[in-house]
């Protein structure tokens, strides 16, 4: 009589986990790297690792709904004749027509305008629809210069010189052929249907000394009216902020690695750049060292999801934040009611990131006219406005609890960290202690 073998349960490797194995198999089958949209999906130190202390005997809270907590933000007060005045500290980050459908861009403009904030063009120029539906529009000045022209510079409300983005600091734009429709191709002066690979460096300037002259040129073209932002992907935030200030920027935008992209190599998204949380304090330190904190404004982006994230970014010294991925989700991206269609694409609601393929069932990251029709820009704009309002209300809720009559009065002293790593990164005490790693005080 044979004895049945006794086996252990199948053991999966921590090193070769299921995703890793599938990626090796995919790479072996195709011979080319994986490309996707979105930002870093790996777990990184984040705003979730921070808590607000709230009011106590030594701190008075503000009455909710009765005592005013200001949320207005002025961007571009350093040099621009016409700085931007926002009603909320939450702006919409740059996303191109091309990466997004026309209705999606219109919805972003409608939603942002409804709550008194700005939206931003992307690597593809400015459309009339976008300008028409955005009361405050930031015009990106990118290495590719697709669609760049002086008329759009002048009808913009601000100019954002893009050095890089958080998903791929050091990488250029990418838009695959499925999304290079006739209109997108014409706007970018490209052949229809090609895989577009934008330059990663600006064509006519190199380094901070040149950047200063480039900013001077843009100010001259626009008669010194427009605020000029400089956007960088988070990698060396202290020096990048200092050099942007030195170059004459009105506003510095720093985008952490959780910030989304329309299309980039997975290996780039997950392994280049630093988390959003890690970028804030060095950037603020640079501004403070130069005596420019609150004079040159700081916008933080990359994985901002709720009012707590907004409040924490502001408490660490930012003047405003920008959202991209969260705005797309508000429009309808990754909605569970599309689950059957996500399954047909080999994914599931909540994980869909093949934005580069142009087959988005929500009609957002596509140039397919039939899919694009699925997004009603009026409904989408309303949803985004709702979401932005909630972010603002949540930020105010936290600020009032900390006794602040304006969201910009939030400060690092209001925060503690749940982990040693976050305490060191955010330069706030580990919860329950007075210890800030690297700064003594056990």
């Amino acid at each position: 009589m044979s004895v049945p073998p006794i086996r252990t349960v199948p053991r999966f490797s921590a090193t070769f986990d299921r995703y890793t194995i599938s990626e090796i198999q995919r790479a072996a089958a195709t011979g080319i790297y994986d490309i996707r949209g979105g930002g870093a999906k790996r777990k990184v130190p984040s705003f979730d690792d921070l808590l607000f202390l709230g009011a106590s005997i030594s701190r008075y809270p503000l009455e909710g709904y009765r005592e005013k907590c200001g949320t207005d933000v002025v961007l571009g007060s350093r040099f621009a004749k016409k700085p931007i005045r926002l009603k909320t500290p939450v702006t919409i980050a740059g996303m191109s027509f091309g990466a997004l459908s026309g209705p999606a861009k219109e919805a972003l403009g409608r939603g942002a305008s409804a709550v008194g904030t700005s939206t931003t063009t992307g690597d593809g120029g400015m459309t009339n629809e976008e300008r028409g539906h955005s009361s405050l529009l930031v015009y990106q000045y990118l290495p590719s210069r697709y669609g760049m022209n002086p008329d759009d510079l002048r009808r913009a409300d601000a100019i954002e010189i893009v050095i890089g983005q958080g998903a791929k600091p050091g990488g250029g734009g990418m838009l695959l052929g499925q999304k290079i429709s006739a209109r997108v191709a014409k706007m970018r002066t490209l052949p229809e249907g090609i895989d577009q690979r934008s330059a990663s460096r600006h064509p006519d300037w190199t380094g901070p000394d040149d950047l200063e002259i480039k900013i001077e040129e843009l100010r001259e073209i626009t008669d010194w009216e427009k605020p000029i932002y400089v956007k960088v992907g988070a990698s060396r935030p202290y020096y990048d902020t200092a050099l942007a200030v030195k170059s004459g920027a009105d506003v510095v935008v720093i985008d952490g690695m959780q910030g989304g992209t329309a299309a980039t190599q997975e290996v780039f998204i997950e392994n280049v750049g630093i988390p959003t949380l890690a970028a804030i304090r060095p950037a603020v330190q640079a501004l403070q060292d130069l005596g420019m904190h609150r004079k040159v404004q700081l916008i933080i982006s990359g994985g901002i999801r709720n009012g707590a994230d907004v409040a924490k970014a502001l408490a660490l010294g930012a003047d405003a934040v920008a959202i991209g991925t969260a705005a797309l989700i508000a429009l309808g991206d990754n909605d569970p009611h599309l689950e059957a269609e996500y399954q047909a694409l080999g994914t599931t609601a909540g994980a869909y990131d093949d934005w580069h393929e142009g087959r988005d069932p929500a009609g957002i990251t596509t140039q397919d006219p039939e899919l694009a029709k699925r997004l009603d820009p009026i409904v989408g704009g309303r949803r985004l406005a709702n979401f932005l309002s909630v972010l603002t209300l949540e930020t105010q809720t936290i600020a009032r609890a900390c006794g602040k009559s304006h969201i910009h009065n939030l400060e690092p002293e209001d925060l503690v960290a749940l982990t040693v790593e976050a305490a060191a990164i955010a330069r706030v005490p580990l919860v329950g202690t007075a210890w800030i790693p690297g700064q003594g005080k056990y």
Partner: protein
């Protein structure tokens, strides 16, 4: 004729005056003296005026020009006529790097040599260089014609899209996906048109040029092109 001495009047004031010109202005001839390498002179003009600049200019002279004819009686710094939309920028001397970068229209004429990256990312501008051009010229050039009477440096037309490059002299090397192409009658007409607009159709013959453009092999990602990535 408005005349501005930049040792007396700031560049800002001159640009401001040029920007305020109405479309039907009769102040069509402007003179700018003593530029002395200052930057951003005559940027963002949108009027049919003639601007004579007597001396050397710094970065981005004539940037984003529309309609104006700008003549620089000297050398030009980085990015002369960058992103020009229409009109003419004529450099009587040499031009530094990135001349005509991302230009969308109009004509840039350089009597002398142009440094590296001449015509980088050009999007419809025509560029005529009577001397030679430096390395990486017409990098990612998308549309328009780059015409060179002299020689071209390394990696000419690297990653070029649908722009055309015409060189009368020697090409040191071609960049990725840039090849010599036979000229069609349309190509010869375009070349002749640039030479005519540059005022040298009597001096340079179309048949003395060779044409370079995209092999269109890198327009789509493919593992077989890995050596080029």
């Amino acid at each position: 004729m408005p005349t501005h001495d930049l040792n007396v009047t700031a560049v800002r004031a001159v640009n401001d005056a040029l920007h305020k010109l109405p479309p039907d202005t009769n102040e069509t001839l402007w003179q700018i003296d003593n530029p002395e390498g200052r930057h951003a002179i005559g940027v963002g003009i949108d009027a049919p005026v003639d601007v004579e600049i007597n001396g050397h200019v710094g970065y981005y002279c004539g940037g984003m020009n529309k309609q104006a004819s700008i003549r620089i009686h000297g050398n030009a710094g980085t990015g002369v006529a960058e992103n020009m939309m229409s009109g003419l920028v004529h450099v009587m001397g040499d031009a530094s790097q990135s001349a005509g970068a991302t230009g969308c229209g109009g004509l840039l004429v350089i009597d002398g040599d142009a440094a590296a990256r001449c015509g980088i990312s050009m999007k419809g501008i025509d560029i005529l260089v009577k001397g030679s051009i430096g390395a990486m010229s017409a990098f990612m050039a998308q549309a328009g014609s780059l015409v060179v009477l002299g020689n071209a440096g390394d990696a000419l037309g690297d990653s070029i899209y649908e722009a055309s490059i015409f060189v009368r002299g020697h090409v040191k090397s071609l960049g990725a996906d840039c090849i010599e192409k036979p000229m069609t009658s349309e190509d010869r007409d375009r070349l002749a048109d640039v030479l005519r607009r540059g005022g040298i159709d009597g001096e340079a013959k179309v048949e003395d040029f060779r044409m370079y453009g995209s092999a269109r092999q890198l327009y789509h990602f493919h593992v077989d092109n890995i050596e080029s990535y």
